[in-house]
Symmetry: D2
Subunit: 369 residues, 4 copies
């Protein structure tokens, strides 16, 4: 009944690999049976042993081939490597006929991402990008409310995703690869967290900005990538927006916030307290909507595990993507609301446009694509 | 590597059974392999099948016997029945030499609870009571801070656990058994949620009130148990407290809040936003402590799965108890900080004292025990 | 056009005298022209000079007599002395035919307060007690909403008024007289702030508890009056309540909060952020009502000076009482919603019942009166 | 002892005139004795009568001349007309040797503002611009903390000033002149509220951006001025910023917020709850600083009227400017921290640069000046 999952990356000490494993377990839809958890075969093996994973491989290529050949091979692979490896690994598994669940951003370079599109299409397999914040129940509700016109015509989209963990020249495995353009891509904060904000806004509004003006900064001396991004947005519909991504915003842990404002109403949601969202109909008192509480919409209720007042968090939002991935695979269906290649490419175009704009002195720049 | 779990109660439509199952999965320490999920054998079987549980039993007694006899029998049983069945089921499994993880409150009657004490002692097996709120990282930190004297000598303990789901004469499976004295016990709100608040305060402060004065009310006509409880508390140490438990507090979902105030500092934590807690040292600015953030204590850090700013919630707190249960079983150790029989008996004495006080017109009443 | 105000008490270094003077000025309805600002004539004179007050008296008795005799004598006197002087001063001015605006609590002893009743009735003059928190616009709205039945039948009233300024054995003029039974009355926290909470609840709900059980404590060694009070309340209507007043609640500055819960809805308001209040209709999302904002009621709008989003605070709430006092005097009308002798006597009975209950071990005690 | 104040504008129905009058009264430093309250002499007279103002003039020119000639003439004039009249009125009074307290923005056109500079310098009189938000105690403290280096080297400045009252094509006196370029100036939201945010950031940080890129929008059909402004900022120091001003941000009443982030710490303050501000030292728990509470700085304490926990609001912040104006006039001193012509000119340059940038497609534009 459960589906079989493999994992590439995510060996000892990795943050996001552990998150994927918990997310996969929460709803009991997946069993983790195979892995190439590190590019260092020794570490891959010891990590697999520590986690009780039966089949450990020395490389992802070997794993793709071997799993494809087994009758009880994995149904899907979770890719949790540094960014520059996402595309080669995804390609290998898609070509081997195995569904892919990939961490974001899609790639370290736009060209790599584009190349993947054809591979994915040819494979007929699912490609799911774990933009996990779109798994939060109130984000599902926000998307539904916008689609139902409860905000009227959209005018303003304000996105903040600010942290402070790179305020100083940081050390440690996480900080190291996330600020190394070779592994992370040319975008620093915009790639690592800006793409999350970008995708979340797209997910909720259903619109993608047509142009942007970006002012990227590296505040910490010697840092090779941006650690702060100020971006203004213009939508084809006439809506306008602002996006602020920062890893040097002292006093912020993981402060992702989305405000969407139309001519009839507005929504305001913040990731650090994800079980509530405010909604204002113009001219009426602001309402506090809660996950699963009074006023919860169908889409919001479909993703909850506990009643209102019993907070769900980051891991549950992530788990929703894994549950929906299992459902999509079983249904041999498209990914439904699940983020996928389209989101990944949009994110890469966002990074690319930010870099072009910023290098051009902050000029307004078309998104392209 | 994983331990084997059985479950009694928790068939289709049950709330807390599903919570226990997720909690048991989150950290990958348990596999659910057996169950007597309903007192109705038909429903037990169909529920087990739907959940992919291999061994379904017609009764808990049959299950205790059969599992004890198997070489690959369950390591522990999770009891998630209505309250009046906790003791008989626990007794059967303890006597069969199987560890017990039991939902709260311990029993529907104090006598039943007391009877269990000897059984448990004789069995040499663990009895864990899932007072899940004590699994929250910041509650662990609060306990540590109090023990370390960061609040000074305790003066005041204020506990609120208020909901509104029974504001009207409710219907539905949950409302039905929770307001039926035969199944739930003579305490309504005090038993269902008051005991949580009581235990949480004990857990954090390390002190148990010596006397209380309680004013229990049934606001909804025809309701056989209290739906609101006002209680004043006196500690042997000279500290004083108030406890408010309500299921008719319109505008509250699951608002458990604990404030502990000493002569040097104070803490304030609320379950609905469990990833932050305020701490004030007398004469200094209030601080916002976050789960895993700056100022996190060792005890708080020991239980987290994600970094600061990535909210963990109700299910993760619950899961911590399951993880620690697995660790305790493996270590053949006592339960450490895990709530157990002692907490359960304290809760029963709390209910009993509230009922006695209230029936006596709200008179101050010794806890006994 | 402006009315003429005198002041007794409120010399240099006094807190509440300065507050009354600002409150009287804000709406331009009063001119402060006379004073007996201190019982020490020297200090009275220098204080008056510093404030530009034209007529300074050596004693309140002299002032009452002289002002009553002048054609341009004061219309009203503001009494801002320590509590034990409220009644003698009020009596002198009422008997001289001068309206009285008196700080709370009404007296240091219940007998004194009762004696004033007849004096006031005979005088035909207004007696206004500055329970200033009832001047906040959202409190006016809360009262109106309760009266209009928007909360349904009241079930629960929860009052907190907690501070921490007396956490340690305090020194200073303010701390000194407020903890001296001879000047402040036998009630410490219950008299100084508990009466505010009590009056606010009465003001909003229109109901007075019929009985209470009180547990008063002096946490600080050597303190002659209570610094913490836990009180449970019973209303004749069947509603229940809790009141917590504290001056040792570390981490709280001036945290007055009122929650009123009925069978159809509930309100929650906190003095430290007085420009918003939440309102929940059972089964609907919680609303944030703002002073002057969407959903503001007539009574709320009648008292505001600035539009929504331009916060008004403590002084404006206080000023509303002065404005309404001027209006009442001009209209030769009763005091309307203004708190007066009735509120003062209720507060004295509250203190008295708390003391009797607490001395009797916390027994339930009738209010009397 | 009190100073004598005159007023131009602020007749019946005007919002800001009433605010100035209350602000001038709060600290008892001013007496309002003369006015030209409307350009319509009839309305001027009836307004003056209603307010008890002794000397009413038919025109500001007449008033300047007459008051300058009197021995007991006004010490200062408060200008509360629509924006286009600020400069002509200010010029008349300065030239008559009368101090000026003028509402913001300084002018409707940059040229007019520049012309005033020389007039003011020649007059030797004070010119105070009521950027009232700089009167809030915690804003004074923020300024002091930045100056003392508690935030380290500044990196980021984020300013929001968003309202929703012009979400629809509005009617009414206020909406009318504030959206009419002839009276309000070419800037809509940026002039009316953007300048407040701009000035507040300058006041707190002590730095003025060197360049900006602005995207101004009129969302409401037929509106002649911007109702939403997105602006990115660059400081000469290398700091960066964003400013969002909006009058169509549904769900916001008067949401002015300032965040200042350095490499060692950060501050976050919001006008609608002005009695608290958060402060984070990098790597330490966030602190909640309160007006007058623990951690209050000298500059913050210097402006408060009530102790911590007794909220002061908009009117008190405004009143602080009037009190300081009186002190400056008495001391024949410069304006100290009071905002003046320099702030006004900076605001005009901000509007001008926004308009130039936006007309140029959102290009980065030097501030000039």
């Amino acid at each position: 009944m459960t589906l079989k999952l493999g994992m590439v990356g995510g060996g000892e000490g990795a943050f996001i690999g552990a998150v994927h494993r918990i997310a996969a377990r929460i709803d009991g839809q997946w069993e983790l049976v195979a892995g190439a958890l590190s590019s260092d075969p020794e570490r891959a093996r010891s990590s697999a042993a520590a986690l009780g994973i039966k089949r450990s491989y020395d490389s992802f290529a070997q794993m793709a081939e071997a799993e494809a050949a087994r009758e009880d091979g994995i149904d899907a692979v979770a890719i949790v490597t540094p960014n520059h490896m996402h595309v080669p690994v995804a390609r290998a598994f898609l070509e081997a006929g195995i569904h892919v669940i990939c961490d974001k951003p899609l790639a370290s370079k736009l060209e790599d991402a584009l190349a993947l599109e054809e591979v994915a299409a040819r494979s007929g397999k699912l490609f799911i990008l774990t933009h996990n914040y779109s798994g939060y129940p109130l984000i599902r509700q926000a998307r539904e409310m916008v689609a139902n016109g409860e905000l009227g015509r959209l005018r303003l989209v304000h996105i903040e995703y600010v942290q402070d963990w790179l305020t100083e020249a940081a050390t440690g495995k996480q900080a190291e690869w996330r600020t190394d353009p070779a592994r992370s891509g040319a975008g620093g904060a915009i790639g690592d967290i800006g793409t999350h904000g970008w995708q979340l806004a797209e997910f909720v509004t259903g619109e993608t900005p047509a142009a942007l003006a970006a002012d990227l900064t590296s505040f910490v001396e010697g840092r090779a990538v941006d650690d702060n991004a100020h971006v203004m947005l213009r939508y084809a519909s006439g809506a306008k927006g602002m996006l602020w991504a920062s890893q040097v915003a002292v006093g912020n842990e993981n402060a992702l916030r989305l405000r969407v404002i139309g001519d009839k109403g507005s929504l305001d949601w913040a990731q650090e307290n994800p079980n509530q969202m405010t909604f204002t109909r113009f001219g009426q008192p602001k309402q506090i909507l809660t996950r699963g509480g009074a006023g919860a919409s169908e889409a919001g209720l479909a993703t909850i595990r506990t009643p209102a007042g019993h907070p769900e968090g980051y891991l549950e939002g992530f788990a929703t993507l894994y549950r929906e991935a299992a459902e999509a695979i079983r249904a041999k269906d498209s990914t439904g609301v699940l983020p996928g290649l389209k989101d990944g490419l949009s994110g890469m175009r966002f990074i690319d446009a930010c870099l072009r704009s910023s290098q051009d002195g902050g000029k307004w720049t078309e998104l392209g694509g």
